[in-house]
Symmetry: C2
């Protein structure tokens, strides 16, 4: 295990190699039907294709079986919250969205196309996606800033008759739930009594709070840049804090005020999704058998070796430490399962089923350094797909 907060993987790969790998983009279109002869053209294009188009016009359900759209995921971003880079705009987000499409294909066997928006107005984005909705069969929202992302996802789910998921919220939350499910087993605790602190009340933090509450964790404290969110905070009445205000009423049952020091005093779990840092002395106040998920990328909220001095289980978002909490464990199988099941919504039950499937796969070798399978584990996407399909049909 590396004991430095440098980014060894990043530094061992040259900038030149990285840029070369992205040159010309990372995606291409494949043609699944050959067009080598006049006969091929007559089948795949005119005149043959007219029969297929006429049939779909008469029975729209045929579009599901005879076009690529019903299984195509639109990877949609407006570039407002790209990785740790912030609002860098739609075009600059495209290398990330192409990478996401590559992950969809590699791990889920799903085709997807990046759709970049050069508007950041929520209603305009909804209107735009509704207008081009016949082009695809699901929407993966990506790297949209909070709190806009909550409103955008909710409105899209209402407006589109297809699976819609903001992965930065729910993909993260699903994998955190899977990891926490196994971490509490390692330390011999249960969800019901768990004192949990989430640093970061953006897309990921809110979704993690939501899925933990729905899974039986009762004591969750959300922290934003001003400290613990509780019902007594005056600033939460601002319209942009509507989501935080809602969670002020549903979290922090002990009414803890203050910062990480106060929140972490006696806490069992720290989950960082904040791009901030946590001083070691605050971690020192956590309970015995503490669990620390320091998920900010590329720099975790606390170095794993430091965290391990005070915690029994440590996870990060990085591939060069044990216990990598990575969305790729979840989203390919979630979308594949939803599409294979013909589901119109991705429900909370489907998300929790995905988390359970991921957690199950680590059971056989469960330890403090192995609470989730590797993102490259080929068993993951099929298991998540099957679990999500079961939940969709159940």
């Amino acid at each position: 295990m590396t004991t430095s907060t440098d980014s060894p993987i990043q530094t061992q790969i040259s900038t030149q190699e990285i840029f070369a790998a992205h040159e010309g983009g990372k995606l291409s279109i494949g043609v699944d039907r050959p067009l080598a002869t006049k006969r091929d053209l007559s089948i795949a294009y005119t005149p043959g294709v007219a029969q297929v188009s006429r049939a779909i016009a008469e029975d729209p359900a045929l579009a599901r079986t005879h076009t690529w759209a019903s299984r195509l995921v639109a990877v949609v971003s407006d570039g407002t919250a790209v990785l740790g880079l912030g609002n860098i705009g739609a075009s600059a987000s495209l290398p990330v969205m192409e990478g996401k499409s590559a992950l969809f294909k590699t791990f889920g066997g799903l085709d997807s196309i990046p759709i970049l928006l050069n508007t950041t107005d929520v209603d305009e984005i909804v209107e735009t996606l509704v207008r081009i909705a016949p082009s695809f069969g699901a929407v993966n929202l990506e790297d949209v800033s909070a709190p806009r992302c909550f409103e955008l996802e909710a409105k899209l789910i209402e407006a589109l008759d297809m699976p819609v998921m903001h992965d930065d919220q729910h993909g993260t939350a699903v994998v955190v739930l899977a990891a926490l499910t196994n971490a509490v087993k390692v330390v011999g605790k249960e969800f019901a009594g768990l004192k949990t602190v989430i640093a970061g009340a953006g897309a990921a933090g809110i979704a993690i709070a939501e899925i933990l509450l729905a899974s039986g964790v009762e004591d969750v404290i959300l922290l934003d840049s001003k400290g613990a969110i509780h019902a007594g905070r005056q600033d939460l009445s601002e319209p942009r804090n509507a989501m935080k205000l809602e969670y002020a009423g549903r979290t922090n049952p002990r009414g803890v005020a203050g910062g990480t020091a106060e929140a972490l005093a006696g806490a069992d779990v720290f989950i960082g999704v904040s791009s901030s840092t946590v001083p070691e002395e605050h971690l020192a106040g956590m309970a015995e058998g503490a669990i620390v998920f320091a998920l900010s990328n590329p720099d975790p909220e606390v170095a794993p070796d430091v965290a391990r001095r005070h915690a029994a289980v440590v996870a990060t978002g990085r591939s060069d430490f044990p216990n990598q909490i990575n969305n790729v464990l979840a989203f390919p199988g979630i979308f594949r399962g939803a599409l294979d099941a013909g589901a119109r919504r991705i429900t909370p039950g489907m998300k929790r089923a995905a988390a359970a499937a991921i957690a199950d796969l680590a059971q056989d070798k469960l330890s403090a350094d192995y609470i989730v399978p590797s993102p490259l584990d080929p068993r993951v996407a099929p298991a998540v797909t099957a679990a999500v399909m079961d939940a969709a049909n159940g």
Copy 2:
């Protein structure tokens, strides 16, 4: 040569085989960078991709070289004029658009994605494509009904900083110009003195008239369902006939009124893009060495064997007769050339250069039955690409 108006190719392929070939769609996404190891992920996705995104944010020109969008064609349709099927809607048009994408890849080596619109409002379509413009590098408009297609193309060209072309207009016009260039050589005539009749004043007819006028043909008569278009026609003052009114002032210099009989009397060239039929007795009135392009699909305006009784050169849109006038000769090379040249517009000069390149390729074996190369001729797209690049840079 087949001497029947049946569709032999269509009838020899079973409906079952056609539907099987379209099942699941005809396109897929290819991943050009492997994602097999943690190192691959670190290069193509996080953390490596952040370097590329940050670089594009600082220098937007890098999006051109380090994403797929700059060379990606959006194949855009609202499904209002699909093949000969009419307004069958966006979803039903998708098999055609997938086929178009397959042709772009097979013949032009260009990636493209179908974008289907479930609005038919011109301004909404423009607004929508502007909002998602960072997703692609060119727009191929397809199967949009006239006269909306003229307004839509013009507005898109103004609104988008990238090549835009309505292929049903200009792809057809380019191949017709190529074919006519060679046909007049076969019959020993010249463009300047040519009496030309175009049946059909929709997308293709108007664009053919435009490119012929720009190429030195002086006597062009456009026919719509009410007969020859001339300045004296009262119905052309309706707003939806604005384009016809404009061409009434630029065509028909002899002021011919009436139908095909009157227009074809003494005519050198008949070009049918009308989905109508032309009686043999009207063709009998054409000049010696007549040229007949009966381009409606799947049923030409006149059977080729009938046309040959009165014409020296006959062409159709079908692959089972000689002289197939097919857009695939033009659009892959036109878009490839425009994108390779970094052109922001597809100009009239680029279209005429494409036509000249296509015509040139048939020179070595020029005859009444060989005025254009086969759509499957692998020399075509590279030659058109080179000619369009020259015209773009010249």
